[in-house]
Amino acid sequence: MNIVENFDLFAPRLINKKELLSPGHRACSGCGEVLAVRLMCKALGENTVIASATGCMEIISSMFPTTAWEVPWIHVAFENAASVASGIEAGLKALRKKGKIDDRYVKVVGMGGDGATMDIGFQALSGAMERGHDMIYVCFDNEAYMNTGIQRSSGTPMGASTTTAPAGKVSMGQKTWKKNMPEIMVAHGIPYVATACPSYPLDFIRKMEKAKSIKGPSYIHCFSMCPTGWRSPSHTAISMGRLAVETGAFPLYEVENGHYHLSSEMPKKFKPIKDYFKPQGRFRHLTADEIEMIQERVNIEYKKLVEKAKYLKI
């Protein structure tokens, strides 16, 4: 598939030109996560307040006394971005109602990495979503605790080697399946859940814009390529995200009020998972049998998703 088809040739004309995350941030060279954050800001626009969890994006963007942010932004701790966002939403609502601030509609966004979202911040996120706050939560999933040095999280995929679940003579690395966070969010019965990846910028931006338009809680799970933690060359970051989608390892879909829809970016026929594993150092140790075992799981998971999309259509 020619990638350019998705851009209608003139991508810059289709997206908000305003940069709301300034250069000078300290993200690693080729960081797919900071690209995702940059694109998210473009989709959200200026009338946004962001609450960020501790993590790569927090550290690299807010080196006191400077900031890369051009939207209001707050960082409090690791596990509470969703609760902080819920408080911001409540505060702004009260102040607007009492006429203490101007009447413009401001979207509140919580953001965190896979560790901040799926592990330590799981409860706070569940609470905020359940309470029905008018907010978006975006999980930037780079599949391990990258900021602290590539330790495994519940978002780390089966077979990946990390610094706390390393591959060794008697270990294949991560021995558990990646937690299906988007499905857990769907189970909260919130109006909108979507998966996205910055390798598909227009799809990601469209989903962010949709989440922005919804009154109530929404959740975006954004696959965020990490050349440092995945041990892949920085220039391949975008293609790595594309391979995750093209092999079915990270399917792109959205769930609107419980109805599933597979994104048009999903290919009719998948590439084998080994094509995605091969360029990444974190998977290099895997044997053919182990890859086959993972391939089977990918096939089954995708089949389940297709079935849901068939029976729970939008």
Binding site: T66, V71, I74, G87
Partner: protein
Amino acid sequence: MGKRIGMEVAVAVAEAVGLCNIDMAAVYPITPQSHIAEHLSDLVADGRIDAEFVTVESEHSAMSAVIGASGTGARSYTATSSQGLMYMHELLPIASAMRLPICMAIANRAVSGPLNILNDHTDIMPQRDSGWISIFVENGQEAIDMSIMSFKIAEHKDVMLPVNVNIDGFQLTHMVEPFEMPTQEEVNQFLPPFVPHATLHPSKPVTMGAFAMSDYFAEIMKAKDEALKNSKKVILDVWNEWGKLFGRKYQPVETYKIEDADVLMLTMGSMGETAQIAIDELRAKGVKAGLVKLRLWRPFPLAEIKAVLKNAKKLIVTDRAISFGGPGGPVFSEVKSALYAEAKRPLIYNYIYGLGGRDMAVKDFTGMFEKVLADTTNQEADTYEFWGVRE
């Protein structure tokens, strides 16, 4: 002047906070704070106060949510106790470093383990160094007054720090007491609108909670320490103003019959009232006993403490918490440290008492005095002892 009414203290605290035009409250239920949370939610449900009430899934999220709300410029309130306060612990120094004037009631309760729901001060003591203004109250009236005043202190432009008001769990929160509740008009006149130092709003984008390395961290800590120390002036001004308006004047350190006293006792919180009766009994017997009540825990009123304590011969510092394996109870350590440089200072005795809701009668306090006065060789000074523990 407000009406004189009888009411449960926890309910009255919620009523008082309801007079303060709060914009947002986030609370998680925990005994014995729950009645504050429940009554606040009643006030919101009945439309008596116009605020967002966020029923968070934990105390950690309660503090997180009020930090977020306060960051937008909303007057924000929470209340907790014991394990809930311990769960919030991580966020307390962040709230103060961000200089967010959050107000919080703490219904003081013992910290596990073992689980115990009754009163002592083991929950607040580990929060001592979190950079909050910390006030202890002795009775229901004071709980109401301090709750209202806490907003004015916290939000003062020269302060901008969070405040916790410590109300002994059950022993105060669940008592029905008579008190004077200020009227809405009186509170409106007393409490100006909250003018935040910065807000999370797109009209002026700011970054809060930026990351600081070794080149800035020490300066940031110093600035926070100075802010907390300097808050004392505002605290005194606000308490004085309250005294003029309502006739109830508060001091960082209250004294009772200390002028000619040879032996003094120092208490914090609701036990002061029982200790005061003990003083009267001892005086009737001819013992020159006096009482000092410490109301302001942070910023620590160093000068006031020195002034009232240094001339006594003996001093009993009572603690409702223990620093395990340390030099004594936390109040004892601080008072002793405050007096260290004085040429003339009392012998100091420390009793750890009333843990996990253990009852303290007047005779317990008179017993402490008797024991200290009987120590003619001064062997027991400068050490600590658990009072009333079965041997």
